[in-house]
């Protein structure tokens, strides 16, 4: 049996080894991913994002239990938890497992911690491939927890079927809620820490922001097109309150994606993204193999000395 076949049969050590290989982009790992690709496309990929300290890991812990249901031996929930790599040492402290202790020895749940390794946008470089592997080896749900995200870490929305944005009371006023960025990507908005004062006010300002969006949409669209209305779910991850309502909202969104054709559109975007990224990388490699290192050094020196603008330097390299 190949490693890919063992992983597809559910062998956890093989899955773990493949994840490492894919993360380090070894040819053995990437070949295995090619082999498994036809099996993918069945999982529901769910992105969980929000500011640091909003309770993402604690909520993922609860949500994974709600989605998995009774413990079984099937592959139910895979969790990919991303934390930042230190730009100084290249090392990382991956601490999301601390809040996921209820899941540590469940045979139907698999948690993998990943460091960003220099990628921006809230995900690690290989998160996309990692999610693909978890999907291909048969996990029903793939939960991706991003690094603590502020306003512009929106890559997750292009990867996940359903994006859950978590806010917590005390993190900003209603003007923050109107800004572009992370709130725009939410398919489901969560106000976590609902046991704290200010939670109702936070939910209210988010609701007003969503209403304004709805009103503006009605002005431009004549008929009600049956689009998805982003729900606001109040949760307290600490006490487990609201978690089953969140699981229901996630399942409803999945059903909506299938019925409305929106899911099909998003798969196309995802496929395009992956293809375009690989094409860019291949083009760069090809150029690098054919280029003259001396000329590169030459234009670099001129750019540093302000004799040549970077754009003109690139024109020269490609002339």
């Amino acid at each position: 049996m190949t490693l890919a076949e063992k992983a597809a049969a559910g062998d956890r050590l093989s899955i773990a080894r493949l994840l490492t290989m894919i993360e380090s982009a070894t040819s053995e790992g990437l070949d295995a991913l090619d082999e498994l690709y036809p099996r993918s496309g069945k999982a529901h990929i769910i992105g969980i994002t929000g500011p640091s300290g909003s309770g993402k890991s604690t909520l993922v812990n609860r949500l994974a239990l709600a989605l998995a249901g009774e413990s079984s031996t099937e592959r139910k929930v895979a969790i990919i938890a991303v934390d930042p790599t230190s730009p100084f040492s290249g090392g990382a402290l991956l601490g999301d497992r601390v809040r996921m202790r209820d899941l540590a020895d469940r045979p139907d749940i698999f948690i993998r911690s990943m460091a960003t390794r220099g990628a921006l946008g809230g995900l690690a470089r290989a998160t996309c491939e990692t999610a693909l592997l978890m999907d291909a080896v048969g996990f029903q749900y793939v939960l991706i927890e991003t690094v603590g995200a502020g306003q512009s870490e929106v890559d997750i929305a292009r990867l996940a079927h359903t994006t859950v944005v978590i806010e917590a009371p005390g993190l900003g006023d209603d003007v923050q809620a109107g800004k572009a960025g992370i709130l725009e990507i939410a398919d489901i908005l969560v106000v976590n820490k609902s046991d704290k004062t200010g939670a109702d006010a936070a939910a209210h300002s988010l609701a007003v922001m969503l209403e304004i969006g709805e009103d503006l949409r009605k002005e431009t669209e004549k008929a009600d097109t049956g689009h998805w209305k982003t729900p606001i779910v109040m949760t307290s991850a600490l006490n487990g309150e609201g978690v089953s309502a969140l699981a229901d909202a996630i399942r409803e969104h999945h059903a909506y994606l299938a019925e409305s054709g929106e899911g099909e559109k998003r798969s196309q975007t995802r496929a395009e993204d992956m293809l375009d990224r690989l094409i860019r990388e291949r083009l760069f490699e090809t150029w690098q193999e054919q280029s003259d290192p001396g000329q590169y050094q030459q234009v670099k020196t001129e750019v540093i000395q302000r004799q040549l603008s970077p754009r003109k330097a690139v024109n020269l390299l490609f002339s």
């Binding site: 773990a16 380090s24 100084f88 090392g91 991956l94 202790r101 911690s113 220099g118």
Partner: protein, 152 residues
Amino acid sequence: MNFQLRPKGIIFIKQDICEPMDRKIRVLIAKPGLDGHDRGAKVIARALRDAGMEVIYTGLRQTPEMIAGAALQEDVDAVGLSILSGAHMTLVPRLLDLMKANGQDATPVFVGGIIPDEDAASLAALGVKAIYGPGTPTTRVIEDVKKFANPV
């Protein structure tokens, strides 16, 4: 692919934009048992991070089953345990058995904490790579992990 002929600047750009990434050493730092003092574990976790490793920290009060599960899912190159409770002769052999059953008997295990000399000898005989008492310099731990972890 041949990198040697390329000037340094290009290699840097390449790593920034596309694979291959270098393989990082991944280490699990865990606190089995019931004692609640995790300062030592946090110091080691931080020191290994600053040495460029990816450190997965489990938090307090882990059972050997939870630690073995984490070591498996994370496919770590080394496991470090911090034990101050005196229960090391129960917890460590149990963890080693579970890791063996998972096919991870080649993954090195290190133990830090208050371990009497005679127990240290027994743990070493079971396969624990090194045992660190109070006052061990972090540089020694970093060197050992680098030496034994050897990622493929």
